[in-house]
Subunit: 421 residues, 2 copies
Amino acid sequence: MTTVRELAQAARAASRVLANLNTESRNQLLRAIADRLRARGSAVLQANAEDMRQGAERGLSPAMLDRLYLDPKRLAALADAVDAIAAQPDPIGQESSVQVRADGLRLARMRVPLGVIAMIYESRPNVTIDAAALCLKSGNAAILRGGSEAWYSNQALATMVQSVLSDLGLPEACVQRLPSSERSEMLELLQCAGLIDLVIPRGGEGLIRFVAANSRIPVVQHYKGVCHLFVDRDANQVTATRLLLDGKASRPGVCNALETLLVDQAIAETWLPGAAAALLARGVELRGCARTQALISAVVPAEDSDWDAEYLAPILAIRMVDDLDAALAHIALHGSQHTEVIVTDNAERAARFQREVDASAVMWNASSRFNDGGELGLGAEIGISTTKIHAYGAMGALSLTTEKWLVSGSGHVRHPDLLKP
Amino acid sequence: MTTVRELAQAARAASRVLANLNTESRNQLLRAIADRLRARGSAVLQANAEDMRQGAERGLSPAMLDRLYLDPKRLAALADAVDAIAAQPDPIGQESSVQVRADGLRLARMRVPLGVIAMIYESRPNVTIDAAALCLKSGNAAILRGGSEAWYSNQALATMVQSVLSDLGLPEACVQRLPSSERSEMLELLQCAGLIDLVIPRGGEGLIRFVAANSRIPVVQHYKGVCHLFVDRDANQVTATRLLLDGKASRPGVCNALETLLVDQAIAETWLPGAAAALLARGVELRGCARTQALISAVVPAEDSDWDAEYLAPILAIRMVDDLDAALAHIALHGSQHTEVIVTDNAERAARFQREVDASAVMWNASSRFNDGGELGLGAEIGISTTKIHAYGAMGALSLTTEKWLVSGSGHVRHPDLLKP
């Protein structure tokens, strides 16, 4: 049986093959994967039905089962996403930033793959395809470790990708899965520094902290999104309500959903009661500060922990603040560097908010839900980084690359005097 | 006494002040540091004399003492480097990659500081100033942990920087040193995840491995440079000798010096004897493969370990290879992703070498010694990364930044249907 280390070594060797494939070969590979998903989806759906059956037996929550579930429509969307990634510009191989120094030495940058990416994730089987497609697009080999609850679906999807690789004469080790979902195998994987270049965990905070604490390989971390909407005194009130409902009520279980509303006290009395009523009508529980409670009787008292909570549920924390400065201070203390929003018609305060708030995406009069690789034009995303090292925010294929220097001369040296005999 | 954690917390608070300083304020700060270095250099030189005295007593090698040594000329060069950093374009604050979607949503990127950088280094006191200047330029707070052998010099330099900060009404915590050179303090520092964004170790391999193994904070690693010069069959022989001497004999103790020469067998007989004689005349010891020894009697046999050695000394390993493919295979196995060089007049083979070799800088008819932040136009450098995460190769001020998204709309939402009452 293949050990985890042997698997990583095979990935390393395959990554050299991938790095030297030309643009068209990599795009052709992606289109073939999309076609295979369309032609042979039934095997995937059968495997998924088994995961769903076992998941129901194990008592997975409806939200979990929904994330796990695949049907022909979701498979078709997955295939379309792979085709869309194929159609994007090639992130690697081009020269950029070309400069010629006064002495004739030519400097350029060339974008290159990272090498081998290990992706560790939970539940959603579509990550298997999204991650494989983004890695292949950017010339990287992928090692995938999905959650046990999606075991059969992930197996069927990865096997399908490997069959396409094999048909095109490419190493199957370009995309591999760990042999089992044992934690010990993940730990072995995290020790393979030198063979794997980057680990990307995607899932609950517990998983991410476990990976970060145990990895000898660099990790790009995707922590929680405690996203704030700040309604400034000069907000357009209709816009404020639109963004509040879209951010809180359209899909509360995702990381770019709103968790806390900050309202400038100068606008609270005229705007907040109507906005709160709209939320309550959509089944959202409201937890607020004393000033908010004084204004709206349906608001229950917020505890200190509410200001740091990522509910991922139809619950909203509400705090009335004195002004923009107080909002900035609250976000600096409680924000999670994910997504923050200001609603205002005052361009100066908006500019200050966008400049000073430290978050991977800062919105002005736009919903927090736009912090998403697809919406930002990256095609699929491999995750949203909430730390600033290597990538900040939504990671697409470009985030799986780096640049090397190309230096070209005609015998240029730094110490010509040394050459005198 | 301040604990390491308190120091990191102070750095975090100071980083927010720095991030919001405008371009001119940060450049003014740098120019003031340069001026202070020129005006009050004698205090630094006195401190340095004490380090030199203790270093001589402790039996430091001449190379170590040379790295430690400061004189008025070196101090002046340091001040000039700070002024040069001040004169560079501002790496942060500008918007770039602006796009407006069909629906009017405006997307842009803004380059921002990382936050707090911990720099862990050995011997050379100039790193104290280079690192402080690059961090301040890019709006980051710095925590510096230099080696014990440069204790007094680093203290004098950091105190001088803090006095300038204080004179300009800025927090002294923008640039701090650890209270002592105890290893336990460094370990405490490496646990301050959430307060420190990036750790950059610079020095011997042992130090770097220790930091990487013990850090809970992302680390950009700077490992050894096992740099190769490949002389292709179509090389200009004069160019080949120039690059060989510059790469091996101009400064053997630095990471971008050559360690191994690979010679295409088709050119070896005509070129290698003369090149070897030039190296021997400059005191370089030659260790070669059997074919090299057969050609040049002064070559001693190379052991297996020679192909992975970073000598940092006047020693060169030489291997004759069949062709470009054999050279690429040797470099893939023994290269350190630092700097690799091809000498050839064949543009096609040069392009293949530059494309396929995985190194932070790949040279064609140019010396390996050009892999240097100054030579590549970055001003000073904070190190040369040999891993691809976050930065690859020479790191200047830009490598201490990242980008956030700015998204601006006029009430844009993803689910407008949700807004119907």
